[in-house]
Point group: C2
Chain length 223, copies 2
DNA sequence: CATTGTGAACTCATTCACAGCG
DNA sequence: CGCTGTGAATGAGTTCACAATG
C-alpha cells in the first residue's frame, strides 16, 4: 500500500484538505510565473492563512521543506497532487443539463485539472441524444445505471432542481458512484460509503447579507 | 437601531450563520408541506446537525421556541429571514457573462429568494448591449463604476476567468460595492470594508478525490 | 542564520447534561 | 412531562514559540 499518501500519525482535519487545495492552486500559478522556491510565510500571505498553519498542514503528510530556505515549488506541487489524488484523470457524469449543468459541462477549468465529463443525463425528452458539448451525449436518467458502468464514471455531479436531487442521488449510488458533487440546494441523504460535497451558493449569499447587515448595525468584527 | 437583529452577548461563530441558512431553507420546505411545528431534534436530523447545536445557534439571537413543544415554523422562518437580512430585495450585478455567468443570470433560485440581477458586465465587444436574460443588459466592464451606481447595486458577482478577477474586484470596490460573491478560482484581495464569499468548486472536487483515496487506502473515518 | 517542523498553549466550536418552563 | 435554553465539559483547530537543521 502507498504509505506516503497517508497522514503520518494524527488525524488530518477536514479543513486542512481544503487548504491543501488552495496551496496547490497557488503553486500552479507560481510555477507558471517561473518561480522555484516559496517560503511558508509567502505562501501563507498569498492564501490569507497563518504561516504556521501552512507548515502544520503540510506536516501531516511529510517533510517537504528545506530549513532556512523554503519549499521547492515543483516538487511540493507534485506532492500535493499525490496527496489530493489529482495526479490522474477522473471521469465524471453530469445529471441535470439545465442552465447550470450546461455551463458545468462547458467549463474548461474542470478539464484542465483532469476532471473529465464523459456522459450526461436529463429527464427532458427534448434533450435526450443531444450533445451540448461535442462528445458528451445526453441520456435519459433511467439509463444512469447502465451508462455509468459503461463509461466507468467515478464522480457524479448533480445539477438538477432540488425536488429530484435525492432521487438522482439514489440512482447514482445504485450505480456504484460513491463520490457526488451536489450543486442542488438540498442536503442529500447517502449511505456511509458515499461521499458528498455540496456547492451551495445561496448559503454564501445569505452569509454575505448577514455580514453586510452586521457592518451596518454592529461594530465590525475584523480579521 | 434594530436591536433584535444583533447577537445577544457572545460572539456568533461564522459557521452558525452557515447553518442558519440551512435551517431557513429547511423551514421553507416544511412550510410548503403545510407543517406548523418542528422540534430541534427533527430540524437537526433533517440538516444532519446535532440538536443542541441547533438550539445553541438559535440561542445566539433570542428565544424562539416553546418549551415542551418546539418551534413554530412560520414565525421561526421569519426570524431567520430578519437575522440573515434576507427579508428584502438585494440588487446584484454580474461580471463575466461566459458559460457560468449566463447560467447564473438565468438561475431562478436567486430571484425567488430576493437576489435580483439588475445589470451585467463583460469585456467581449460581441456581448455588449446584448440581453442574455430579458431586462438585463450587458455593459462593458469600463462602465462598472457608472452603471453600478445608476442601478444601485449592493452585491457584485464575479464569474470571470481567474486572471482578471482581481482587476474586476478592484473596479467593483471602486464603485462602492462592498459585498462580493466570487466564483473565480482565486482568492481576491480586498480592503477590510469589503466582504467576499468564494464559491470554489474545484476545491470541492479536490476534497472528494482526497476522501475517495482515503476510502480506498485507509480505514474510513465515519461521521 | 533564515526557515522549517512541531509540542504546548490557546482559542474557538461542539456536545453534554440538566435546570427552567410552557 | 417534553422540549427548550444554556453553563460546563469536552473536543477540534489555530497560533505561538522555539528547538532542529540544511
Amino acid at each position: 500500500m502507498e504509505r506516503l499518501l497517508m497522514a503520518k500519525k494524527k488525524k488530518v482535519p477536514k479543513i486542512t484538505i481544503n487548504r491543501l487545495s488552495l496551496y496547490y492552486r497557488q503553486l500552479e500559478m507560481l510555477e507558471a510565473e517561473g518561480e522555484n522556491i516559496i517560503s511558508s510565510e509567502r505562501l501563507a500571505s498569498m492564501t490569507q492563512i497563518n504561516p504556521a498553519q501552512v507548515r502544520k498542514d503540510l506536516g501531516y503528510f511529510g517533510e517537504f521543506g528545506i530549513r532556512g530556505v523554503g519549499y521547492e515549488i515543483g516538487p511540493l506541487k507534485e506532492q500535493l497532487k499525490r496527496i489530493l489524488c489529482v495526479n490522474r484523470i477522473w471521469r465524471m457524469s453530469l445529471v441535470g443539463v439545465g442552465n447550470l449543468g450546461s455551463a458545468l459541462l462547458r467549463h474548461q477549468g474542470f478539464y484542465i485539472r483532469g476532471f473529465h465529463f464523459v456522459v450526461a443525463f436529463d429527464s427532458d425528452p427534448e434533450k435526450i441524444g443531444m450533445e451540448v458539448v461535442p462528445g458528451i451525449r445526453i441520456y435519459h436518467v433511467d439509463r444512469i445505471n447502465e451508462e455509468i458502468k459503461k463509461f466507468d464514471v467515478q464522480i457524479g455531479v448533480i445539477a438538477t432542481p432540488a425536488d429530484v436531487s435525492q432521487y438522482v442521488a439514489d440512482l447514482l449510488i445504485e450505480a456504484d458512484v460513491n463520490a457526488i458533487l451536489n450543486f442542488s440546494p438540498v442536503h442529500i441523504q447517502v449511505p456511509d460509503c458515499c461521499l458528498v460535497e455540496n456547492v451551495d451558493f445561496t448559503v454564501k449569499l445569505d452569509i454575505l447579507t448577514y455580514k453586510v447587515s452586521q457592518q451596518i448595525y454592529g461594530k465590525r468584527d475584523r480579521r
